[in-house]
């Protein structure tokens, strides 16, 4: 098929892919989960992909995603040697959206930690899958979440039992291999951290070639009372890939959720975190670092909802755009009427490294409670001239001085990384870019 032009064609295309998907399910279509899928595809055909008229997508042009007739990623694919080097166990590996037992280690039925693919998890914990899969993903208003749910089959399931403290970080790896066809995959992640449990998760997206593909990801993370989840995302998709990720987080009282994202790859990416602080004394931290080059476009989107009193949220979003890259940030803090004593802080710093780079930012506060302290600050600018002068006056050449200052700008996000290996890896990545 050639390019998709109309909304009608768009709908027909995904309906045809859905029928193809349904027929590949071999009898699984009778399960309860399938009604979730059919409702979602219906909703998607009503919604269609968002347009730039939608306030939520104002600065991101989805034309390239919308017009491409992506095919379902089916069949086995080989993973090039070395792709998984340096990624320790325990880990779950997915190749083009499908779980790979070969590269993974699973623990099902373990007392403290369960790591499994979703179909596997459905056998061991049918009640949890029934109760939580699709519960917080907003299918009603988010077209991408609806599309992902329609094609929901594989994905990662992580369950941390009550009181368990998991020391080793859990690794989730989503590999997209180099293929001829333009494929779409629907990775799905369900994380349940029960009361008083603690876990660190590293989620990686890796493209092995330079091909065009589309990863439409939905994550759901549920934190029980006082649970602590430290969640890292390292996005290294191929330079021609599209990556749209919606992460829905639901927090009970006293829980702490940290999201840290490093966005390096993809031609067009959307990193969206929607967290609801639903119990007293919860805390949510969301940090992102985006480095855009060439004609990359990255859209970082957060919605933090304070629905209970005495919660805290901290956001730090740093964007550096070079060449003709475009950075978008939209961050919304919503404080519900009874969420008194809320403390919400949001900081967004943007650095423009070239004449043709652009940044659009939209920090928003919606406050319905009076006893709160909410702030947001946004800056957009170039490298500090005074800092540059200082370094140059000490004999450092201009390019090197610029690199030092750019690195310094970015490294603030690194400081908070609690996993040494991840911090070192990201630090090296930055150094490669800004040699000094």
């Amino acid at each position: 098929m050639t390019a998709i032009k109309t909304r009608e064609e768009q709908k027909d295309w995904y309906l045809s892919q859905f029928r193809l998907f349904e027929s590949s399910l071999n009898g699984d279509a009778g399960q309860a989960i399938h009604s979730l899928r059919t409702a979602a595809i219906e909703r998607f055909s009503e919604l269609g992909f968002p347009t730039s008229k939608s306030e939520e997508w104002k600065y991101t042009n989805l034309a390239s995603i919308v017009s491409t007739p992506f095919r379902l990623a089916l069949g086995k694919a080989d993973v090039p040697a070395g792709t998984l080097d340096g990624i320790p166990f325990p880990r779950l590996v997915f190749v083009n959206g499908t779980f790979s037992r070969e590269y993974s280690s699973t623990t099902a039925g373990n007392e403290s930690l369960t790591m499994a693919s979703l179909p596997e998890a459905a056998k061991f914990h049918p009640e949890l899958i029934r109760d939580f899969l699709g519960r917080y993903a907003d299918v009603r208003t988010q077209a991408f979440s609806a599309l992902n749910t329609a094609f929901l089959y594989d994905g990662a399931f992580i369950l941390v039992r009550r009181g368990a403290v998991i020391e080793e970080p859990v690794q989730l790896v989503f590999i997209s291999t180099d293929r001829e066809e333009q494929c779409i995959a629907f990775p799905r992640v369900l994380i349940i951290a029960e009361e008083n449990s603690q876990v660190k998760i590293v989620e990686r997206f890796k493209g092995t070639g330079g091909n065009t593909y589309f990863n439409n990801i939905v994550g759901e993370t549920i934190l029980g009372p006082n649970a602590v989840v430290d969640h890292y995302r390292i996005q290294q998709e191929s330079e021609n890939a599209y990556h749209v990720s919606h992460s829905h987080v639901h927090q009970d009282r006293g829980s702490v959720y940290s999201s840290t994202a490093f966005l390096w790859g993809a031609a067009l990416s959307r990193h969206e975190v929607r967290a609801v602080l639903n119990g007293e004394g919860g805390e949510c931290r969301a940090r992102s670092l985006y480095l855009g080059k060439n004609r990359q476009h990255s859209d970082i989107h957060t919605v933090l909802e304070h629905a209970a009193p005495r919660c805290q949220s901290h956001q730090l979003v740093k964007t550096m755009v070079d060449d003709e890259a475009h950075g978008v940030f939209s961050g919304r803090i919503v404080v519900h009427p009874d969420a008194q004593k809320t403390n919400a802080i949001q900081t967004n710093n943007n650095l423009l490294l070239s004449e043709s780079a652009a940044v659009d930012t939209k920090p928003q506060l919606e406050i319905f409670a009076d006893d709160v302290r909410c702030t947001h600050g946004a800056t957009i600018g170039k490298i500090d001239e005074e800092g540059l002068f200082y370094l140059r006056s000490r004999g450092i050449d201009e390019q090197q001085a610029r690199n030092v200052l750019t690195y310094a700008f970015a490294s603030e996000v690194l400081e908070s990384v609690a996993i040494d290996d991840v911090r070192r890896e990201m630090d090296e990545r930055l150094h490669r870019q800004f040699r000094f």
Binding site: E55, Y59, P337, D338, Q340, N350, L352, L353, S354, E355, A357, A358, V359, D360, T361, K362, P363, Q364, L365, E366, I367, F368, A369, D370, D371, V372, R373, C374, T375, H376, G377, A378, T379, I380, G381, K382
Partner: protein, 453 residues
């Protein structure tokens, strides 16, 4: 005409509680804020003067009728008609954070003028004493108070200008300060050149409506090199029942000129909501400066949220020349709903835009207000300081945009938006949009929302 009279409410009725114990500075201060936010509207009276109105509703004939009543030249009638046709195709904007019952635009009377039309007053002595009384109540220095007040008043009563003072003194300097209608007749070239040059009739729904039916307004022209020696000031007052008020203001400051303009508003109490859709256009040429200040005190509705003015206003200034400056200052305390974004297009190199705003909403008032700073010229600077106070069941939103276009090297913006909430049933919101396409520019935005103390 509707002759119903509304009693003037006693100020601060039974609201003062005796406070015992230590009264600190803080409690004093918060008491003051409490008093202000719980105060009833003090300017609710209706003046009995005969008003000439046309039937309610809007179509091309009404637009033509308005134009012919004002004896307008053909080009202006055509301009109104183009605006009307455009308006008919437009949809009322829904993006603002305000809720209201849909407006029936066919239920509005689009023209009303004091009936003394044929016999326009030559001096203040000729003005209807009732009208003067109204100004008296409003505390406007309309009589022989030139020196005392130092203010020239171009008073717009409902839709037609009835008195202009200081005209002679100003005209000695070549300054034109008159009603819009007069300007259309006496200075058609200037009006034709600049009308719609900042806010085109197709700009938005309410601006298009205003362009089709505008009744009157003010016109200011400050010639090259002249510094206007006094604050120019206009007081607007919506009066006749069921009458929309559609002013149009046009201020032009030529090279090196300076003017400070003060606009104040009050409206009588009435139960139905009234629509007010004004357009203000400012043009500053090289080295010119325009200071535009507003005290917006339209009737906000009663404690239950009944009645009140819908204030949907388009205000925009164009810094056309190099080193020009436009500064907006607004104090927004009135209206049931405010939809207003005084903006600056910073076209000339080194031009400066400023926006200072205090918006206070109480009871069921809703305000969605802010500014747009569009940096096009090099080394353009803008400053935004906005303070929002929300009490009772009110919703107060700051909505602003800062755009740095690709050619705007050396551009600089700083924005500070603070909100205060009083009580747990109101809301305060901040929606800034920042778009930067030039890497030799600097933009900073800060916002906080907190409670007192």
């Amino acid at each position: 005409m509707d002759r119903e009279r509304y009693p003037q409410p006693a100020p601060n009725k039974g609201n003062k509680k005796h406070q015992s114990g230590i009264e600190s500075f803080m409690t004093d201060e918060s008491k003051t804020i409490e008093e202000i936010t719980s105060q009833e509207y003090q300017y609710g009276f209706t003046t009995d003067i005969e008003t000439e109105s046309i039937p309610k509703g809007l179509d091309e004939d009404v637009v033509r009728l308005i134009s012919s009543k004002k004896d307008e030249p053909e080009w202006l009638t055509e301009w109104r008609l183009k605006a009307f046709r455009r308006w008919r195709e437009m949809k009322e904007p829904t993006w603002a954070n305000v809720r209201y019952e849909p407006i029936d635009y066919q239920e509005i009377i689009y023209y009303s003028a004091p009936k003394l039309d044929k016999d326009r007053p030559k001096s203040l002595d000729d003005v209807d004493p009732k009208l003067l009384e109204t100004y008296e109540k409003l505390g406007i220095p309309l009589k022989e108070r030139e020196i005392l007040a130092g203010v020239a008043v171009d008073a717009v009563f409902d839709s037609v200008s009835v008195a202009t003072t200081f005209k002679e003194k100003l005209s000695e300097l070549g300054i034109i300060f008159c009603s819009f209608s007069e300007a259309v007749h006496n200075h058609p070239d200037l009006v034709r050149k600049y009308l719609g040059s900042v806010v085109p009739y197709s700009d938005n729904f309410f601006a298009a409506l205003n362009s089709a039916v505008f009744s009157d307004g003010s016109f200011v022209f400050i010639p090259k090199g002249v510094r206007c020696p006094m604050e120019l000031s206009t007081y607007f007052r919506i009066n006749a029942a069921q009458t929309g008020q559609f002013e149009r203001t046009l201020i032009i400051a030529e090279e090196g000129a300076y003017v400070s303009y003060l606009e104040g508003c009050t409206a009588p109490m009435r139960d139905e909501n009234q629509l007010h859709a004004a357009v203000v256009e400012l043009i500053a040429l090289d080295d010119a400066e325009i200071k535009y200040s507003t005290v917006q005190n339209w009737y906000p509705g009663d404690e239950e949220g009944r009645g009140g003015i819908y204030n949907f206003v388009t205000k925009r200034g164009k810094c056309l020349g190099r080193n020009s400056k436009i500064s907006w200052t607004q104090v927004e305390t009135g209206s049931a709903i405010t939809w207003k974004y005084p903006s600056c297009i910073l076209l000339g190199d080194n031009s400066v835009g400023e926006f200072y705003s205090v918006a206070l909403t109480t009871n069921y008032q809703q305000a969605d207000t802010g500014t747009k700073m569009i940096h096009i010229g090099k080394n353009t600077k803008s400053l935004i300081i906005s303070k929002g106070i929300s009490a009772g069941h009110a919703q107060n939103s700051y909505r602003g945009a800062v755009k740095i276009m690709q050619g705007a090297s050396g551009a600089r913006n700083f924005s500070q938006c603070d909100s205060l909430l009083i009580g747990d049933e109101c809301g305060a919101h901040t929606f800034p949009y920042i778009e930067v396409k030039n890497n030799d520019s600097q933009v900073e935005h800060e916002a906080t929302t907190s409670k007192i103390g």
